[in-house]
Symmetry: C2
DNA sequence: ACACTATTTGGCTATTTTGCCAAACAATAA
DNA sequence: TTATTGTTTGGCAAAATAGCCAAATAGTGT
């Protein structure tokens, strides 16, 4: 893997990483519906103003959201909405994972039953 | 946001987080082509056996890959290939980001030029 | 039984991330 | 001008992550 390719993987991973936090993922989904100022998020999330601002900065730095100052507020919008198209697949991952956990529990109790007989 | 919804966002974010590391993202893309044992990755990545094993464990824990022991080797495979479908969009994010950086540089030098006149 | 190979795990340190508080900044209102 | 509101930034401490080494584990072959 040469230097360019490595840099490319780092850039791509950074995008995933930015979405890899529940609050930021939630913010991104909210921004898919419509733009929001920071204060609107602070109301809905139980977190400090500075915390929300930092999360938004992470998303902005990753290139996922953009911001625009209007009056006293800074409005954030989703720059690349397609980034959330994978959500159905992500949900499929979670479902599959949940299912395999259920299977594991079932197999374990089967073993126990067999062990008892 | 109630407890269930919060847990749902945490689970979804965990999937993104798992892909949010260049090595793990590279591994996932390799696994899209075909299954691999750990040793094959160790050869290609310049990292310790234990490091690679841990990265694979993270992907497995997130539900993205599965593993199967055959003989002396453990083979990993991509459980949910659709997770990489978003890659073209991720690349679009990077392109857009790169472009906005170029624009910023251009605007800055325009300002300088105007300032000089 | 022994040695050998592939993999995981425990333990450690260095680095990064998170989230809060307080302070700084910016735009508006009085 | 001062006060006020919305936002960002500096600084800090707690927690999580990454990556290495060494030890443990599991399966194979002798």
């Amino acid at each position: 893997m040469d230097k360019n390719e490595k840099a490319f993987y780092e850039a791509k991973a950074a995008v995933f990483k930015a979405l890899g936090h529940p609050t930021r993922l939630w913010i991104a989904e909210e921004l898919k519906k419509k733009e929001h100022c920071v204060c609107e998020f602070v109301e809905k999330i139980n977190a400090d103003f500075s915390t929300v601002s930092r999360h938004l900065a992470v998303l902005k730095h990753a290139g996922i959201v953009g911001d625009e100052k209007r009056g006293m507020n800074v409005f954030y919008h989703l720059k690349v909405p397609c980034i959330l198209n994978s959500m159905t697949c992500v949900e499929a991952v979670i479902d599959a994972q949940l299912q395999s956990q259920i299977d594991m529990i079932n197999n374990k109790s089967d073993t126990n039953i067999n062990g008892r007989i």
